[in-house]
């Protein structure tokens, strides 16, 4: 089979598992929502919340990313399916992109919900002029996070104590996404008078990050899960 077909097959399989199990809908989305509410309780000031809303959205996204990545690799390791994929000779590059694609779809849904929650709970405002920047930021950040999550999720999948190892591996690496995406969303929402044009260089950073981890993940995923 061609690589493209295998990528589709693996992504469709992961999304079908989610459709059957509804772990994202019933557990991860509520977890992300509760996190946003807790941020609101902790800061308890509408001015402060409106100012920091973009950062809180991305922090909640990163916390939820960890749960999502653990889930996406738990389905592979629970009954030895990752080993079976290796034995079946399935192209590791296709496994990486298939899982990253499914993860990106789930992350995108999560980010939209979190952004909506920020608009409702924190009083953040959306401007028509910032929509393109906002959408581009979401796409670039989602691609980068999905690539990093899949790469490190695959790496941690073979270790005992992967639940605690994964945050240690992922959080330092995704710091540029947290910073870049927060600044870009601040510009898109016009937080503290930020202009839309100020956000585009941050989108550039997110795009470079996504490409770097997309290429790096394609090269490294096979050897990582093989050993």
């Amino acid at each position: 089979m061609k690589r493209r077909q295998i990528i589709q097959l693996i992504a469709a399989k992961d999304l079908r598992i989610e459709r059957h199990s509804r772990v994202v809908a019933n557990q991860i989305l509520p977890f992300a929502g509760v996190t946003m509410v807790m941020f609101g309780f902790a800061l308890d000031s509408s001015d402060v919340l409106e100012r920091v809303a973009p950062g809180l959205v991305w922090l909640a996204t990163l916390f939820s990313l960890l749960v999502l990545v653990q889930r996406t690799f738990a389905i592979e390791t629970d009954d030895g399916a990752l080993d079976a994929l290796r034995v079946a000779g399935v192209d590791p590059v296709a496994i990486f992109w298939g899982k990253a694609l499914a993860l990106a779809v789930q992350l995108a849904v999560l980010e939209v919900v979190l952004l909506g929650a920020a608009l409702v709970l924190y009083g953040a405002e959306m401007h028509v002029g910032g929509v393109l920047l906002l959408v581009t930021t979401l796409v670039a950040a989602t691609c980068g996070l999905a690539a990093v999550g899949t790469l490190y999720g695959g790496l941690a999948a073979g270790f005992k104590g992967r639940e605690t190892l994964l945050p240690l591996l992922v959080f330092p690496v995704v710091a540029p996404v947290l910073i870049g995406a927060t600044r870009a969303v601040e510009s898109a929402l016009g937080t503290a008078g930020a202009a839309v044009s100020e956000g585009w260089p941050w989108v550039g950073l997110l795009a470079v990050f996504a490409v770097a981890f997309g290429v790096g993940g394609s090269l490294a995923f096979g050897p990582l899960v093989d050993e």
Partner: protein, 257 residues
């Protein structure tokens, strides 16, 4: 008319071929004697060739110089105490463990340099089943079959062959019994059209009917050309199935019968 002629000819040839294959099977059962393994008694194809193979797992030698030859169509039983190296031998043959010394070929491919060519041709059923608990039986078999480009018909046939085509096909694996999961995993191996089946304790978790069914599937697979290596502690059952028994002791092949 020429089309009819071709069809009649192919039907006739198919019938003759069937009669011969049934007769050969019956003859084999009647004699129940094989002086030499198939690799040496006229079948030129040796599926597994290991020569003083050493494999390391977690810093320890899992295989310490194993030498083994398995011919096409054989059902070989690996027996030995826990930790003897049976599972490591299966994983080496599946291309999952690297060979660090000696040499080995599986299905004609070098174990040191061509593991990627070996893997798609091998079906490994280990201690775990490699199934997705939240997918149905049919979705699991469909997924694994699709990884090698199996058609819908082939996937359907694999389900039917393992008795999973009816109501069970739409049941999620999470709700199946251990035996039903094992059957599903075996259907995945069938759907993947594996040439070499490597089975680690395949009877584990199966009830009496399931075991009989499994044995029938394995015999059928071997008769249709697949080579099967079984590691098992259930010596009586697996022994009656096997065409040859190989003792594995301390990472080496101790004796072959």
């Amino acid at each position: 008319m020429p089309a009819h002629g071709t069809r009649i000819r192919s039907l006739a040839l198919g019938g003759i071929r069937h009669v011969f294959s049934v007769a050969a099977e019956r003859f084999g059962e009647l004699c129940d004697v094989r002086l030499l393994p198939p690799a040496m008694d006229g079948n030129p194809r040796t599926v597994i060739e290991l020569d003083d193979a050493v494999a390391v797992l977690g810093g320890f030698p899992a295989l310490a110089g194993a030498t083994l030859a398995v011919g096409a169509g054989e059902i070989v039983l690996l027996r030995g105490p826990n930790g003897a190296g049976k599972t490591s031998l299966l994983r080496l043959c599946a291309g999952l463990l690297p060979i660090v010394r000696g040499s080995g070929r599986v299905l004609g491919f070098d174990l040191a340099t061509e593991r990627d060519a070996i893997r798609p041709r091998v079906g490994l059923l280990g201690h775990s089943n490699g199934l997705y608990a939240d997918l149905t039986v049919a979705e699991n078999v469909g997924f694994w079959g699709s990884t090698v480009g199996a058609t819908t018909g082939e996937i359907r046939a694999a389900l039917e062959r393992l008795g999973l085509a009816g109501r069970l096909a739409d049941v999620r694996v999470r709700t199946l019994s251990a035996g039903q999961r094992r059957r599903t995993a075996l259907a995945c191996v069938v759907a993947r059209r594996a040439e070499l089946w490597l089975l680690d304790e395949p009877h584990a978790g199966l009830d009496a009917d399931g075991r009989d069914e499994l044995d029938a599937v394995l015999r059928q697979a071997a008769a249709s050309g697949a080579t099967i290596v079984v590691a098992s502690h259930e010596l009586e059952r697996a022994g009656s199935l096997a065409t040859r028994t190989v003792d594995v002791v301390a990472g080496q092949i101790a004796e072959q019968q």
